[in-house]
C-alpha cells in the first residue's frame, strides 16, 4: 500500500489549570509510528475556555489576554524549538482573521480560536521519533482569572505531515521561536485624562539566537494584549475614539483594537548597536496590521541578538478608567543541525 500523501497527528490537552502546563492526553500522539520518515509542515493550535461569550466569551487571541496566556513549549530530541513557553500567538503571523480574531456568533456559543504555525522549513521527523509538545495556561494578569475563563483551559494541537522522500539527511532544518514578554503596565494611580508613559527594553537573551551556528530569522511577530477592570466603552481623551474595554463590552470584547498602533512606539538595534528601527515608531508602522508580523528573512549570527526598546502609553478617560496592556514580541526562524546530534539524549 503506498504511503499517504498527508498525515495528521492530533491530541487534546484537557484541563490545563491556571499557572500549569500539560502534556498531550495521548502521550504518543506526536510520535511518528509509521515505518517511514516524515516532514512536519505545520502545527495547528486551538483552544476553548469552556464559557460562552455572554460571560467573556471568545477565546480570541488577537489583542486579548488569550494571546498571552495560551503558551506552548516544543522540543525535538534534545533541542528546544521554542524559548521555553512561548505564547502561541507569537509563533506565526495572523493568516485568518475570521478565526484568529473572530466575531461573536450567538449567545452561549463557545467559539474556538485557532492559530497555525507553518514552519519556515519542514521539520524532518524520523520513524519512531516524536515531537514533544507541552501546552501551558499562564495568566499573571491582576484581573481575576475567572473573568476570562482561564481557570481551566482545553487546548488541541494537530501536526500536519507528509512522507519524506529519499534517504535521511545528515543535516536538518529546525524551527525556533524566541520571545520577548513585556511587563503588564497601565493602571495604578492614574489621574483622569493623564496617560503615564512606560518604557522597557528587552534583554540580550530575549530576541536571541542561542545556538552556536547562524539562524535564519524569518520574521518578527507582535501581539499587544489589552484589557481593563472597567466595563463598557472607554473613550480616550486624546483622540476621542472609543474602545470597548472588557467582558460585557458591546463591541470588541476588550481586544486591543488598534490601540497599540498609536500608543506603543518601538526602536530596535542589533547587538552591535546598529539601528534596525532607528527612531521611535508606532508599532503599527513596524508590524503590518494585516498580519501582525514583519517579514525580514535575514541571518542572525550565533549567540547574536536584537534589542527592542519600547515607549508605551495606554489611554485613560476622563473618569480615570484605564487599560492594562502587555507587548509581546516573537522572533521566528530556523537553523541547521546534524540529525544525529539533535536526537542524541
Amino acid at each position: 500500500m503506498p504511503a499517504p500523501s498527508s498525515i495528521v497527528f492530533a491530541s487534546a490537552f484537557t484541563g490545563i489549570k491556571n499557572g500549569q502546563s500539560n502534556m498531550p492526553d495521548d502521550s504518543d500522539a506526536f510520535t511518528n509510528r509509521y515505518p517511514f520518515d516524515l516532514l512536519v509542515d505545520e502545527l495547528r493550535f486551538s483552544w476553548t475556555s469552556g464559557i460562552n461569550y455572554t460571560q467573556f466569551a471568545l477565546a480570541n487571541p488577537q489583542g486579548t489576554l488569550w494571546g498571552d496566556v495560551v503558551r506552548c513549549r516544543l522540543k525535538f530530541g534534545r533541542v528546544g524549538l521554542t524559548d521555553g513557553f512561548v505564547p502561541v500567538s507569537l509563533l506565526a503571523p495572523v493568516r485568518d482573521w475570521a478565526f484568529q480574531a473572530p466575531e461573536p456568533l450567538t449567545a452561549a456559543t463557545e467559539l474556538p480560536s485557532s492559530w497555525v504555525w507553518r514552519f519556515p522549513k519542514p521539520l524532518y521527523l524520523p520513524a519512531g521519533q516524536k515531537l514533544l509538545i507541552e501546552m501551558g495556561n499562564f495568566n499573571d494578569w491582576t484581573l481575576p482569572a475567572s473573568n476570562f475563563g482561564f481557570a481551566t483551559l482545553t487546548a488541541r494541537v494537530s501536526m500536519q505531515c507528509r512522507p519524506s522522500q529519499g534517504p535521511a539527511p545528515s543535516m536538518i532544518d529546525l524551527p525556533y521561536a524566541a520571545k520577548f514578554l513585556g511587563q503588564i503596565w497601565g493602571g495604578g494611580s492614574v489621574q483622569p485624562g493623564q496617560e503615564p508613559s512606560t518604557s522597557e527594553i528587552s534583554t540580550p537573551t530575549d530576541l536571541y539566537n542561542p545556538f552556536s551556528v547562524p539562524m535564519q530569522v524569518e520574521r518578527f511577530t507582535l501581539n499587544t494584549l489589552a484589557s481593563s477592570p472597567f466595563t463598557g466603552l472607554l473613550t480616550p481623551i486624546v483622540d476621542g475614539l472609543e474602545q470597548s474595554v472588557v467582558a460585557g463590552g458591546t463591541d470588541r470584547f476588550g481586544m486591543n483594537w488598534g490601540l497599540d498602533r498609536r500608543y506603543v512606539t518601538a526602536r530596535m538595534v542589533t547587538a552591535d548597536g546598529f539601528p534596525v528601527i532607528r527612531d521611535y515608531v508606532p508599532v503599527g508602522s513596524v508590524f503590518s496590521a494585516n498580519d501582525r508580523s514583519w517579514l525580514v528573512n535575514v541571518p542572525l549570527d550565533a549567540n547574536d541578538y536584537f534589542i527592542l526598546d519600547l515607549v508605551e502609553q495606554m489611554p485613560v478617560n476622563d473618569n480615570g478608567n484605564y487599560f492594562l496592556a502587555r507587548v509581546n514580541m516573537g522572533m521566528i526562524g530556523c537553523w541547521q543541525a546534524q540529525l544525529a546530534a539533535a536526537l542524541s539524549v
Binding site: 482573521w97 476621542g240 542589533t270 508606532p282 542572525l300
Partner: protein, 281 residues
C-alpha cells in the same frame, strides 16, 4: 550582525489638515550612512490627531480613501501618477484591519534605492467635508540595508500606480478621463491589475458596491462584457481585478459608472504595476 543585510525600518510622521499638502522629512526616510538599501514594503497608518477625528469622518475609518500620497525616487522617477488615494496603492490584504486607516503596500519586487536618490513621499488630505481637525499620518519603509560597495543593478524595477478619484458622486459626469488610468511615462508599464474602492463618506465602511461599472483595456477591448456590479469586478476580499499586460506610453484604461450612487459614496480606481528603470540613464 553586520549592518549590511540587516533589516531596517525608516519612518516619519506628520500632521495634516484638509486640503494641505505636506512632504515627509526625507532625512528620516533614508539611512544616516550613505549606503543603498532595498524597500520591500511601505506601511501607512493614519490616526485622528489631537481633538479627535474630523467632523463627519467617522473616526479612522474614512481615512482610507481620503488620504492620498505621491512617491518619487529622486527628483524624476515617480512611483505614482501624482497623488493616489492610499488604498489604491495595493490590493486589500485583510480588509478588517483597514478600519484602522492602515495600508500595507508590498512591492512585487524589492525596490533598490541608491544612496544618492531618496524616496520622497508627499501626502494630502482630500476630504469632502470642511473641518479644522487634523490627522496624523505615519509612513514607514521596511527593507534591508545593502553594503556600501554593492554594485547598482543596471535596471531597477520601480512600482507604478496611477489612480482616479471621483471626488464626488456625480455619476455620468465623473468618469475617469484619458489622463487618469493612463501611462504618463516615456516607458511601458507592466500592469498587474486594477484596484477599485468606494469610499463611504460617512465613514461607516466601504461604500455601496452594487453600482455597476464597465471597464475597457487600452485599445478599447472590453474587460467586463457590459456593466457588472462593482463588487463582482472588485471583490471586497481583494479589491483587485487581475489584468496582466503592458500599458504603452499614453495608453489608458477606460471605465464608466452605469448606476447612480447615493450621495454618500465616492468611487475610486487605479492600476498597479511596475516598469524597469535605468537609474543612471
Amino acid at each position: 550582525m553586520k549592518p549590511a543585510g540587516a533589516p531596517i525600518l525608516l519612518s516619519d510622521s506628520l500632521t495634516i489638515t484638509r486640503g494641505r499638502q505636506k512632504r515627509f522629512n526625507v532625512s528620516n526616510l533614508r539611512p544616516r550612512t550613505r549606503v543603498p538599501f532595498l524597500i520591500d514594503s511601505v506601511r501607512i497608518q493614519a490616526v485622528a490627531g489631537e481633538g479627535g477625528a474630523p467632523a463627519g469622518a467617522g473616526g479612522d475609518l474614512s481615512f482610507r480613501g481620503l488620504i492620498a500620497l505621491s512617491f518619487n525616487l529622486g527628483e524624476r522617477v515617480p512611483l505614482t501618477n501624482g497623488f493616489v488615494p492610499q488604498w489604491l496603492l495595493s490590493p486589500a490584504r485583510q480588509a478588517t484591519v483597514e478600519f484602522g486607516g492602515f495600508v500595507h503596500w508590498v512591492f512585487s519586487r524589492p525596490l533598490y534605492v541608491p544612496s544618492t536618490m531618496p524616496l520622497f513621499a508627499d501626502v494630502i488630505l482630500n476630504a469632502n467635508y470642511a473641518s479644522a481637525a487634523s490627522i496624523t499620518v505615519n509612513i514607514a519603509y521596511a527593507g534591508r540595508i545593502l553594503d556600501r560597495d554593492t554594485k547598482a543593478p543596471v535596471t531597477v524595477d520601480v512600482p507604478f500606480v496611477s489612480g482616479w478619484d471621483s471626488t464626488s458622486n456625480l455619476v455620468g459626469q465623473q468618469n475617469p478621463g484619458n489622463n487618469d488610468l493612463w501611462n504618463p511615462l516615456q516607458t511601458p508599464v507592466c500592469v498587474q491589475g486594477l484596484v477599485g474602492r468606494i469610499q463611504a463618506l460617512n465613514g461607516s465602511a466601504d461604500g455601496d458596491d452594487t453600482t455597476t461599472v464597465q471597464l475597457w483595456s487600452p485599445g478599447g477591448t472590453e474587460i467586463t462584457r457590459g456593466p457588472v456590479q462593482w463588487r463582482d469586478a472588485f471583490p471586497r476580499l481583494t479589491t483587485m481585478l487581475p489584468w496582466s499586460g503592458v500599458l504603452q506610453p499614453g495608453d489608458y484604461f477606460q471605465a464608466r459608472l452605469q448606476t447612480a450612487l447615493s450621495a454618500a459614496y465616492r468611487p475610486m480606481l487605479s492600476y498597479v504595476g511596475y516598469r524597469p528603470v535605468v537609474l543612471g540613464g
